[in-house]
Symmetry: C2
Subunit: 325 residues, 2 copies
Amino acid sequence: MKATAIAPSNIAFIKFWGKTNDKLNLPQNSSISVNLSNLHSTTTVEFDPKFKKDVVIIDGSMQQKETLRTTKHLNVIRKLANIKTFAKVVSKNNFPKGSGLASSASGFAALTLAAAKAANLKLSEKELTTIARLGSGSASRSIPDGFVKWEKGSNHQTSYAHSLHSANFWKINILAIIISTSHKKISSTEGHSAAKSSPFFKIRIAKIEDKIRNLETVIRYKDFKKFGQIIEKEALELHAIALTSNPPIIYLLPESIKIMLLCQKLRETDTDVYFTFDAGPQPVLFCLQKDSQKIERAIKNEVRKARIIKSTPADGAKIITNHLF
Amino acid sequence: MKATAIAPSNIAFIKFWGKTNDKLNLPQNSSISVNLSNLHSTTTVEFDPKFKKDVVIIDGSMQQKETLRTTKHLNVIRKLANIKTFAKVVSKNNFPKGSGLASSASGFAALTLAAAKAANLKLSEKELTTIARLGSGSASRSIPDGFVKWEKGSNHQTSYAHSLHSANFWKINILAIIISTSHKKISSTEGHSAAKSSPFFKIRIAKIEDKIRNLETVIRYKDFKKFGQIIEKEALELHAIALTSNPPIIYLLPESIKIMLLCQKLRETDTDVYFTFDAGPQPVLFCLQKDSQKIERAIKNEVRKARIIKSTPADGAKIITNHLF
């Protein structure tokens, strides 16, 4: 039983920050994201009695921490499928892992789909999103297509993700800018735990439903300027929460600020470009197709070493037939 | 009637951010600062019937906006002294104006003291701090000596500054780092107005009295580590409020982040150094005398163009006899 899945990374417009349940990865708030066409993980899973233990190879190497997390996730699948067979898992990302570009989102989405298929489970998309969530919260958002909402829910069944709009609903351009390939110092897991220590966290949560409703409306009407204003504010709020956590977390690097200021400057010349940041230093910019080249040149000019990965909204996780082993 | 005063700039440990009364510059919260020995303004004021209007020369040039603000401040003094004479005001700063290093604090403290003396007013230190406040809120803190608290008060008389400790109470080193000499885009006045638009501002104000009490204690016991942790948190909170104001205000520059991260790195090597920032990009670092040289070298290494102005705690505004004209 071998299966392979490919899953996109996603970038959140409204962030997942803080959990109500660490074991189930239940979030403090619902979140909204879009899948990225050119940032993805491909994962092949084979359950076979020939394996004496789970073997996990990510981007060509075995790492203890990742293996433990993967085995834990395979256990969920094994329990559902009522099997005890060990598995071999080979996964590759087409972008640097652990640098704040949500590799765990695409990774656990692909793992979930491939493992479920390899274990011959028949699961609905909704069920798949809840299982992906157990591996990494934001992985739930990499399962459905296009623009996705993860409903916070209140238990395992009700905390699931679903598509708001298809990938081709709005052909905005998304520029993920890799300014640093070094592994971030504070993991998202640590950041989620720290969130509650910010004196501002409760207020964020109290006000977030209004923000979500506003964003859903501006996406529905494709109001790019308002969309941009909301996502920038939300990203700055995430970092304001991190900066005021105890102890403070500074995710931003000098180049992150450079790109923020560049966006402001470009807007002064009537180029609509807006930034977001996850819990990491990498800026992700949103622009319209017509401005994309000009913006890419400006970025390269500002941060010479930046690597830009250009995406459009993408479908969610899917099974493919080319196995990795 | 001619008089000259010199007044230090001050850097706040607990910031003044947001006003309850724009006309009187009544602050939303009390604040605590220290005067800086090597950042100062010197101002000569002469009231004389020979002047047909107020003439204001700051750092060698006349600027309309500054002239208006100075004339308004001279009117306060004239009213108290019951005179109608115009004045010549010549002022110079030993550091770049409007770049977030509180030149308005030292400027209005020096102006207040020189003008009061030139107008032959006999005022207490407390009264001088309230008058300085009318020109620029933080100027009130540049009148008393050393470590200063500005009590927020509730009206003109009760919103005054006073010394908590003399300048030589604690000989910490203060490194003001000028990373940008360009005039900041968003004035402090605009920032103060925007503060209320942050969803987090009310919480900040609700919790600030506890922070002030803590800081007063750690200063009293000269607990440098705890002192550093409090001032860094407070600076990050100020910027969290700015980042979440509507529209967001990004005061930090790439080099600001560089210096923040440098402080974190130096602390990993047991070098106690802590940062603060006012509403601007310039970092102000606190360290102990013994580490000062090492830290200065590290700063120069990190940001080549940085200009470092090294201070120790200083006395407040005082009258001097060397006039500028």
